[in-house]
Amino acid sequence: MSLASGLAVLTPLVVEFPFEWNYVRSIVRVSLYVSLTAVALSTLVSLPVALLVGFKEFRGKTLLTSVINTGMGFPSVVVGLVVLFAISNQGPFGSWDLVFTTEAMIISQFVLAAPVITGVSLAAVSSVEQNVRDAAYALGGTRVDVAIVTIKEARYGIATAVLAGFGRAISEVGSVLIVGGNIAASDGTSVTRTLTTAIQLEAEQGRFETAMLLGAILVVLVLVVNAIVVRLGNGGGRYG
């Protein structure tokens, strides 16, 4: 399909919007809530791990690095299965009653995004020169101050890591379908339905145009989040 013919298909869809606004809004809200929460939690865990692996020598460091690198390419369906097992009645967290909830989707996206954010952040913080870290220490910085300087110096790389993690999370279908169930409420609004699972459903039912429209909304969302993160990265530079 050429760009012109694609636009020709999408334009009437935008004009005669084929969904209830409440439905689309709820899908976007669930998608953003799940992915942004998962990425925020992943970042909180990943940055200290990246700093630890980057600058400390300890037993098992090579093994941990291998686990992180393997995790970056881990199949999402397998992650979904493992998380589903863990939270199902037979699993260790069965009593928490998480199956087919947004919390379960956050857990599975956390597992998918954390290795990506850790791996890319690790490369970024490792590239910060030891001289700069020494300068921060020599000027009276504590270990926390040196870590803050390292994060500020590596902020562009860390922003890339967060974006890569967000991209992995929001574009994810397999695991959120397994642990979330792609559920909509009786009033038609989303409970655990995300943009990706909604697209999958529309395509499965042969409504390609509407699937494409949802896809366009997803792309715009990713672009907006990217722009915000890049802006924040540059802001850190201005005041760093």
Partner: protein, 255 residues
């Protein structure tokens, strides 16, 4: 307030670098540490800056043993020492933010948060001490420039101002002018003399004999077997007590 190394031994990966080195950096005096490359001048300065504990021997600050005290006490000592390295190693920020760094880390977290928020809304709080330090090295006009836009010499001058801004008791300089042109070297040397006037004790590692003669009150000669001679600059250069010192100064010792 005197910073002292007492019979210090230190090495890396089983290789001894310093063997029984003793010297002191008293207030209001410039001590030049001279010696060939690889002899352990930087290692000695890093021990004095409390980066590492010596393998043997003591580091004392104001006659107090540094490494037998608590970590908090050691942080207090560290915060009375400034250090400038051979490379400027400025942070990726404005010149002013670089000069303020030492002052910033000495503030409470609430104070720091308030400053960060002021900066974020475009009203950065100006620190008088940092601006005065930049004035000492003649760079107050460039305070709001990105540090990355400076020349190598200017960057090193900012690194010096950054260490001077929080008024340390002791300044440790590790070959700070070895990559600089004569003009920037002169600015740094004048700033060293200015720091001395303010009562700051300065130890400068250098292999520039002329620089040592120009700015140092005392000279310590480090030749691989520890400090072999410490004395007034004139005495060490004109009539050294140790024959190896004379040979090193005259360029007859080959390493």
């Amino acid at each position: 307030m005197t910073l002292e190394a007492i019979d210090v031994h230190h090495g890396y990966d089983g290789e001894t670098v310093l063997e029984g080195v003793s010297l002191s950096v008293p207030s209001g005096e410039v001590l030049a540490i001279i010696g060939p490359s690889g002899v352990g001048k930087s290692t000695l300065l890093r021990l004095l800056a409390l980066f590492d504990a010596p393998d043997r021997g003591e580091i004392e600050f104001g006659s107090e043993r540094v490494w037998t005290g608590s970590q908090q006490r050691r942080l207090e000592f560290r915060r009375r020492i400034g250090m400038v390295f051979q490379e400027a190693s400025l942070f990726d920020a404005t010149v002013r933010r670089n000069a303020e760094y030492g002052l910033r880390v000495r503030q409470s977290w609430i104070g720091r948060l308030r400053r960060e928020l002021s900066a974020l809304v475009g009203m950065p709080a100006e620190t008088i001490e940092a601006m005065e330090a930049l004035e000492t090295v003649g760079l107050q006009e460039k305070a709001n420039q990105d540090a990355a836009s400076l020349s190598g010499g200017e960057a090193q001058r900012v690194a010096f101002a950054r260490a001077l801004a929080y008024e340390p008791d002791v300044l440790l300089l590790d070959e700070p002018t070895s990559d600089l042109d004569p003009r920037n070297t002169a600015v740094i040397e004048n700033a060293v003399l200015e720091a001395k006037k303010r009562g700051i004790g300065v130890a400068i590692a250098t292999h520039d004999m002329h620089q040592a003669e120009r700015i140092a009150d005392r000279v310590a000669v480090l030749l691989g077997d520890g400090v072999i001679e410490v004395g007034d600059t004139e005495t060490v250069f004109e009539s050294p007590a140790d024959e190896r010192t004379r040979k090193f100064i005259d360029g007859e010792l080959i390493y």
